[in-house]
């Protein structure tokens, strides 16, 4: 059994559940404690030891049902498929074998009298060395089914069925009855073949589960953002969420490592006065890092909307890393959308910001106007803890770039980071005014794909804000 559990764990890992060796050992120990008599209990014991994220439970359930089949239900299904005549014929076969000395081949006996579970075991044993690990595509199902089927010795089946029929004839059954019985026996033969096919299909599903998803994700991560279809955008959302979690986890770990301090003489001496100058309590200097404030300013015109979407999602998923996050969107008029994020779940807030914020979505982008408006309205609220993150392609449609506004903003804040969803080769060509804005920015990065975006934010979180900025 242990081997089967380990194989199952392999399946889970392929479906991107992270399972450590110690957890695998726990699962083995737990199943040894619980035993296999009750399927539900067995399942719970594996879930408790292997699945540590509630969002992975669904994957677990599915794979469990594929891998540890409900044999009882299988038997029931077989009975149903064979119809109501089953018990009578079955009894007859039983008496023939027990009393009339009918001798059958092992396989025939399995097929004619076996329970669903026994058949399944036989199929599984047959599939053991059939090279199922090479099974990857649906087209292979037929081939592998045949291959497993060939492992059984079918030579005696025909003869055995004839033998049975002859014996029944000798018993004096009428032709109608005989035909029905023959039909039934053939049905069972067929059922067995169907079971083999189902077995292979299940194996395929088990192996391929979520593999496709993984592949699409890898491809999509490198696809330019503007080229993503709505479907692909939906798929990438979960990817971005997953990556945000990863960044956050890593961050928590680092904070932990950094917070070992040296002696804080001032506090220690102050406290010692309470004890007559004896330093009873020792205080350590904790490197106390203020969480940074963040303001995001996103261009939401058509050309860069996808990039803005993912950046907003990323930033708001990383909210806990900042003390305060504010978000603005603009095309030419600029509007604050922070409120939406406070009231709605991230998903909905982003949809709102991209489609229903109080800005005109149909005009042409005007970075200069947006920055000057922002500088006029918000300059007072900026401070040295704030980082401004701008996302846009700096294609200004030949409007006045008003670079002075960005310079003014820069003077009030910790830094400005510009993420440009356009390839670096295009900056400064045509109506791109990127070179005019670059001097005011601390960091300028290209992020054309989700992969790049995530990489950039990851770097920022680890290096830009690391030194307490």
């Amino acid at each position: 059994m242990d081997e089967r559990i380990l194989e199952f764990i392999g399946d889970l890992r392929r479906a991107e559940l992270r399972i450590s060796p110690s957890e695998a050992l726990d699962a083995l120990a737990a199943s040894a404690e619980i035993g296999l008599s009750d399927r539900e209990t067995f399942k719970s014991s594996l879930a408790a030891t292997l699945v540590k994220e509630s969002r992975d439970l669904e994957t677990f359930d599915r794979l469990f049902n594929l891998y540890f089949m409900d044999l009882e239900a299988l038997g029931e299904g077989l009975k149903k498929a064979l119809g109501p005549e089953d018990p009578r014929v079955q009894d007859m076969l039983d008496t023939m074998m027990d009393e009339d000395g009918l001798e059958l081949d092992d396989l025939t006996e399995l097929l004619m009298r076996g329970q669903g579970s026994e058949m399944e075991m036989a199929i599984r044993a047959g599939g053991q060395n059939a090279g199922l690990e090479r099974l990857m595509y649906f087209l292979q199902v037929g081939y592998f089914s045949r291959k497993i089927s060939d492992r059984f010795d079918w030579s005696m089946i025909e003869r055995d069925i004839e033998k049975i029929m002859k014996m029944l004839e000798a018993k004096g059954l009428d032709p109608g009855q005989l035909a029905r019985i023959r039909n039934y026996l053939e049905l069972r033969l067929e059922a067995f073949n169907r079971m083999i096919r189902q077995h292979v299909e299940r194996e395929l599903e088990r192996r391929a589960y979520r593999q496709g998803e993984k592949l699409t994700r890898e491809v999509l991560s490198d696809k330019p953002l503007f080229a993503l279809t709505p479907d692909e955008v939906a798929q990438m959302k979960s990817v971005v969420a997953r990556l945000a979690r990863k960044i956050k986890d890593a961050l928590a770990l680092r904070q932990r490592q950094e917070e070992r301090g040296r002696l804080d003489t001032r506090r220690t001496i102050r406290k010692s006065l309470q004890y007559g100058g004896v330093p009873m309590e020792v205080f350590l200097k904790r490197r106390h890092r203020d969480k940074p404030k963040l303001i995001t300013i996103c261009d939401v015109s058509d050309s860069v909307r996808n990039a803005s979407r993912f950046m907003l999602q990323l930033v708001w998923s990383l909210q806990e890393c900042f003390s305060h996050v504010r978000s603005f969107v603009f095309v030419s008029e600029i509007a604050e959308v922070t409120q939406a994020f406070n009231n709605y779940p991230v998903e909905r807030a982003i949809e709102w910001a991209l489609k229903a914020a109080p800005v005109d979505y149909h005009c042409r982008s005007d970075f200069g106007y947006a920055f000057s408006r922002f500088a006029n309205a918000e300059l007072e609220s900026l401070d040295r803890k704030t980082t401004v993150m701008i996302l846009g392609d700096a294609r200004n449609n030949y409007n006045d770039p008003q670079a002075w506004a960005l310079r003014m903003i820069r003077e009030r804040v910790r830094g400005i980071i510009w993420l440009n969803p356009e390839g670096q080769w295009g900056w400064g060509i045509g109506d791109s005014v990127m070179p005019l804005y670059t001097p005011s920015c601390d960091i300028v990065k290209e992020c054309r794909t989700v992969g790049q975006l995530v990489q950039v934010v990851d770097q920022l979180v680890h290096s830009w804000w690391r030194r307490g900025r």
């Binding site: 110690s22 009750d38 408790a48 030891t49 540590k52 509630s54 009873m280």
Partner: protein, 320 residues
């Protein structure tokens, strides 16, 4: 540490409090807690394998209650560590009673004076005091906090670490050390090893992601809102005086309301409160006016209230 005085425990060995998963279910039920098969399995395994259990799930589904009931049926004392932002090792593990130490040194000043009165030199005097310093760093002056008391305890205990997600990640790392070998070192006193493996239950409302290390260490149990049948059973058990018909109506209505995408869907504890208040009001069945006037028992946010009131027809129509 004197190995002879402390019975060694083998961390791989668990207890034998329960005979089987069914036994767990039985005993929880007699302690008035409906434990589904999954819950019972995890509790059974935790006890057998001596592993902590990490319970996640929405607020009010009985996570804390589970630990309390477990302590109850195991007849072990429950030691509870409530986590909050800013919780540190001092508050969780132990603190020295500084004031008491100081008071004692003041009171014993003369004795100390006598002790060093005939010391020939300063180093001698220091050596003599050094010989006595154990007196001030002994268990007498140590005030154990929940974690240390759980480890020190003579009798086996149930340790409940509530809302671990509220504490900082750093605290989690520290906790992990304690949970992996059930021993704690107090620099002045040496290592304190647990005499018994405590049954540890951690709860989390998922306010933040817990670290992988902690999750790896624990058995994981996710408790969601109960299925209708289960919730009905819970209501019958906890509010026995409720008429059967009303109980069914309550469950159906609550299940509907949970489907309304509220900011905070009603939890089990809230549906119990509601059932109780309906019984007090002597209601026989649910109608719109009654539900509207008692809705605050169930739904706690203004916006949610409006939402439920708006969908009242739906909630009631299908439930009757």
């Amino acid at each position: 540490m004197n190995a002879g005085s402390v019975p060694q425990f083998d961390p791989t060995y668990g207890g034998d409090m329960f005979d089987s998963v069914e036994d767990v279910q039985q005993r929880f039920k007699s302690a008035r807690y409906i434990a589904g098969r999954r819950i019972a399995t995890v509790v059974y395994l935790a006890e057998r394998m001596g592993r902590p259990v990490l319970i996640e799930g929405p607020a009010g589904v009985g996570k804390t209650e589970l630990a309390k009931t477990l302590a109850d049926i195991a007849s072990r004392p429950l030691i509870r560590l409530q986590c909050y932002e800013g919780l540190d090792e001092g508050k969780a593990l132990y603190e020295w009673k500084y004031a008491k130490q100081l008071l004692y040194t003041q009171l014993l000043k003369e004795r100390i004076g006598e002790l060093i009165a005939d010391a020939p030199s300063l180093p001698d005097a220091v050596a003599r005091i050094a010989g006595q310093d154990d007196a001030f760093f002994s268990y007498r002056f140590l005030s154990p906090r929940p974690l240390l008391s759980a480890i020190q305890s003579e009798a086996p205990v149930v340790l409940l670490i509530d809302e671990i997600d509220k504490a900082e990640p750093e605290f989690e790392a520290f906790l992990l050390e304690v949970l992996s070998d059930f021993q704690v070192s107090v620099p002045e006193l040496g290592t304190v090893k647990a005499r018994h493996v405590p049954l540890v239950v951690l709860t989390s409302n998922n306010a933040r992601e817990l670290s992988d290390g902690l999750k790896r260490r624990c058995l994981h149990l996710f408790i969601d809102f109960p299925a209708p049948a289960e919730e009905l059973e819970i209501i019958r058990l906890k509010v026995p005086e409720i008429p059967e018909k009303l109980a069914r109506a309550v469950v159906a209505a609550v299940q509907k309301i949970r489907g309304l995408e509220l900011r905070k869907p009603p939890s089990v504890s809230e549906s119990l409160d509601w059932a109780r208040s309906l019984v007090i009001l002597n209601a026989k069945q649910l109608d719109a006016a009654l539900v509207e006037s008692t809705l605050t028992m169930l739904v706690k946010y203004e916006k949610d209230l409006e939402r439920v009131k708006g969908a009242l027809d739906k909630v009631l129509a299908e439930s009757s």
